[in-house]
């Protein structure tokens, strides 16, 4: 195949690729507020917690009495949520709890690099506890910060709002294969009190 490609390209001149285009961040943006607005518009819920104690207080009523599967991310553990990972447990859980390695403010996106793939995917409700300092402003900021996602993990997922489809008569339906509900708790100060 490469021989055919080279024949097809005969005569073209070797040139360097166009430069990478990544916009710099706009000054003075409130990333957390921007993130909350974008995700809320997509049908997600956002809570802000000043510290871990507040985050625990928000999470407790959401998780009480539910079948929960949680990742072993430090921030999730710091909130006192622990569970044993198994595929079966992911498939059976009502709620999956993870953190996020980054978030993107202007699109309301969560970025998973070190999280397991299925916890944020199989349960019908996904709760993410994130560090406010990890909220970047834009996609450009993400790719500036992580120029080589493959160096860090086999999977980088950008999740922007609840799973959705419009395949039947163009009617928006949430939660087709992934979670239909997303709740994000933004923690301002993640140092243990």
């Amino acid at each position: 195949m490469l021989t055919r490609i080279r024949a097809a390209l005969a005569g073209s001149v070797k040139e360097p690729p166009p430069p990478v285009w990544l916009d710099p961040d706009p000054p003075d943006a409130n990333a957390a507020a921007m993130f909350a607005q974008a995700l809320t518009e997509l049908g997600g819920q956002v809570h802000e917690a000043a510290n871990l104690a507040e985050a625990r207080a928000i999470l407790e009523p959401l998780l009480a009495g539910r079948r929960v599967i949680a990742s072993s991310a430090p921030l999730v553990r710091a909130c006192g949520i622990e569970s044993q990972y198994s595929r079966g447990a992911c498939a059976d859980a009502e709620i999956g709890v993870t953190s996020a390695d980054f978030a993107i403010a202007n699109t309301g996106t969560l970025v998973f690099l070190t999280e397991p793939r299925l916890i944020s995917l199989l349960p019908p409700r996904h709760i993410a506890v994130i560090d406010r300092a990890k909220i970047l402003l834009s996609l450009d900021a993400l790719f500036s910060r992580v120029p080589q996602p493959a160096a860090l993990s086999s999977s980088m997922v950008l999740a922007t709002g609840p799973s959705r489809t419009a395949d039947i008569e163009m009617r928006l339906v949430r939660g087709v294969h992934g979670p239909g509900e997303i709740i994000v708790v933004i923690v301002a100060d993640v140092t243990a009190s």
Binding site: L22, L122, A150
Partner: protein
């Protein structure tokens, strides 16, 4: 020209309304979100430039891609033909004892008829995108690149899902979710396409809204991605430009719900993900398109579907009037260029009419996020068409008659005829056209009378 199919679409008022409103809504969504990007036109140009550069150095980038996929523990399969790609999948399934395969929406696998091939080898292949699943159960093909079941009513969907006829889209979606959930967990292989292949990372990128591509690539033990060779881009960082354009152009979202950037199988220390990853790089006629300098840009397409939504022809005749899996303006330029490859496989395409079925309004070129000059390519394909040679001959004859008044006079009888003969060489031509009512006297007769 598939006249019966076109007539059927035109005569179905429900279908006309469904296609018109769905494409209209997608186009509205695009317009609103593209307005968020003050630098939109520059981004399009940049995306165009990256695609142009990558294709002009395709050999180099594919080699880099192969090296980096292997470095991440994946396997690369070079498939020259549809059969080679399909055979790889069936052989791997047989070797690993896999009877059930889940698939996420991929136009490339539609192109090579992978599902038929798997079925023939006794392997159950289940489409998991909701629209594709509905289409598969109905035994049909995708109606639109990004909205495969656009032409189906909820009642028709209820019927194929064995649901109550008055079930809501929510209820129907829940039924599909439950059925497909089991398939994801039981399948031995997950097959996806790829929106982008990233040379410097050895990664594939999947863009979707439902989560079925994430599940297909993460739940089964083996993940196979099948992609055309033209999908490669040089660097992970180039995605910032392409991702900003893709979802906006397709559905009017700033970003699709899930973007997965996947490089190789699960690594040591990772909790889940597939144990094997294979990337099938498909030619299937692409290198012959590449060989044409002018029309090479047809391969820049990122499959957003914007040109379909803005095309006055697609919006009237619908997705089933086109002879190949790619419909609308992009189908009109791709199909004739792939015709030779497809005909070698025994397909009976009749693609030569496609470049002519356009008003050349230019909307497709204007909305293309990678600035493919579709109208220009349509004109070039018209020039190459055998139909064009016949038309040229006829036009030359007509022009000669018009320049010779004495000869022209000899053709007075033509306008005296109430109806032109709808037989012989004119039959096909006339069947597509209505003649205007002619006044009783011609201009020349009237002129003579008044003088």
């Amino acid at each position: 020209m598939p006249l019966t199919q076109i007539q059927k679409a035109l005569d179905d008022p429900r279908l006309q309304k469904a296609v018109y409103s769905a494409t209209g809504r997608l186009a509205d969504g695009r317009r609103k979100t593209v307005a968020d990007l003050p630098e939109y036109q520059k981004l399009r140009q940049h995306a165009h430039d990256i695609k142009q550069h990558t294709l002009e150095h395709l050999d180099t980038y594919l080699e880099e891609l192969e090296r980096s996929v292997i470095a991440r523990g994946g396997k690369v399969i070079w498939a020259n033909t549809a059969a080679e790609a399909c055979d790889f999948v069936t052989n791997l399934a047989r070797d690993r004892g896999v009877k059930l395969v889940v698939k996420s929406k991929s136009m490339t696998t539609e192109e090579i008829h992978l599902n038929h091939h798997l079925e023939r080898h006794g392997i159950d292949a289940v489409e998991t995108d909701l629209g594709e699943y509905i289409i598969q159960l109905s035994g049909e093909t995708p109606y639109h690149i990004i909205a495969p079941a656009l032409h189906k009513t909820r009642e028709q969907v209820a019927e194929v899902l064995h649901a109550a006829p008055n079930a809501t889209p929510e209820a129907l979606t829940a039924i599909a979710r439950a059925t497909l959930r089991k398939k994801f967990l039981d399948a031995g292989i997950g097959i996806t396409g790829a929106n982008f292949l990233v040379a410097d990372s050895g990664a594939i990128v999947l863009v979707e809204n439902e989560g079925n591509a994430r599940l297909s690539s993460s739940a089964p033990r083996i993940h196979i991605a099948i992609s055309g060779i033209e999908k490669v881009i040089p660097r992970a960082q180039d995605l910032a430009v392409f991702l900003k354009l893709l979802a906006r152009s397709a559905t009017g979202q700033a970003l699709s719900v899930y973007t997965s950037f996947l490089s190789g199988p699960r690594r040591p220390g990772e909790t889940d993900g597939p144990e094997e990853f294979c990337l099938v790089l498909l030619d299937h006629g692409r290198t012959s398109v590449l060989a044409d300098r002018e029309k090479r840009q047809s391969l820049y397409c990122i499959r957003c579907g914007a040109c379909l939504n803005h095309c006055p022809v697609y919006r009237k005749i619908g997705g089933y009037s086109y002879p190949w899996v790619y419909s609308g303006p992009i189908g009109k330029i791709l199909t004739p260029q792939f015709a030779e490859t497809l005909e070698k496989e025994g397909a009976d395409l009749h693609a030569s009419w496609l470049p002519f079925a356009s008003s050349l309004c230019g909307a497709c070129g204007e909305v293309c996020p990678v600035k493919i000059e579709i109208p220009k390519i349509l004109l070039e394909l018209r020039q190459e068409s055998p139909k064009k040679r016949e038309e040229k001959l006829a036009m030359r004859l007509f022009s000669w008659i018009m320049r010779h008044p004495r000869v022209y006079e000899q053709f007075r009888w033509v306008r005296k005829m109430r109806k032109l003969p709808s037989a012989g060489p004119l039959k096909a031509w006339l069947s597509e056209r209505d003649l205007p009512e002619l006044p009783a006297r011609s201009f020349r007769e009237e002129w003579k009378r008044r003088k």
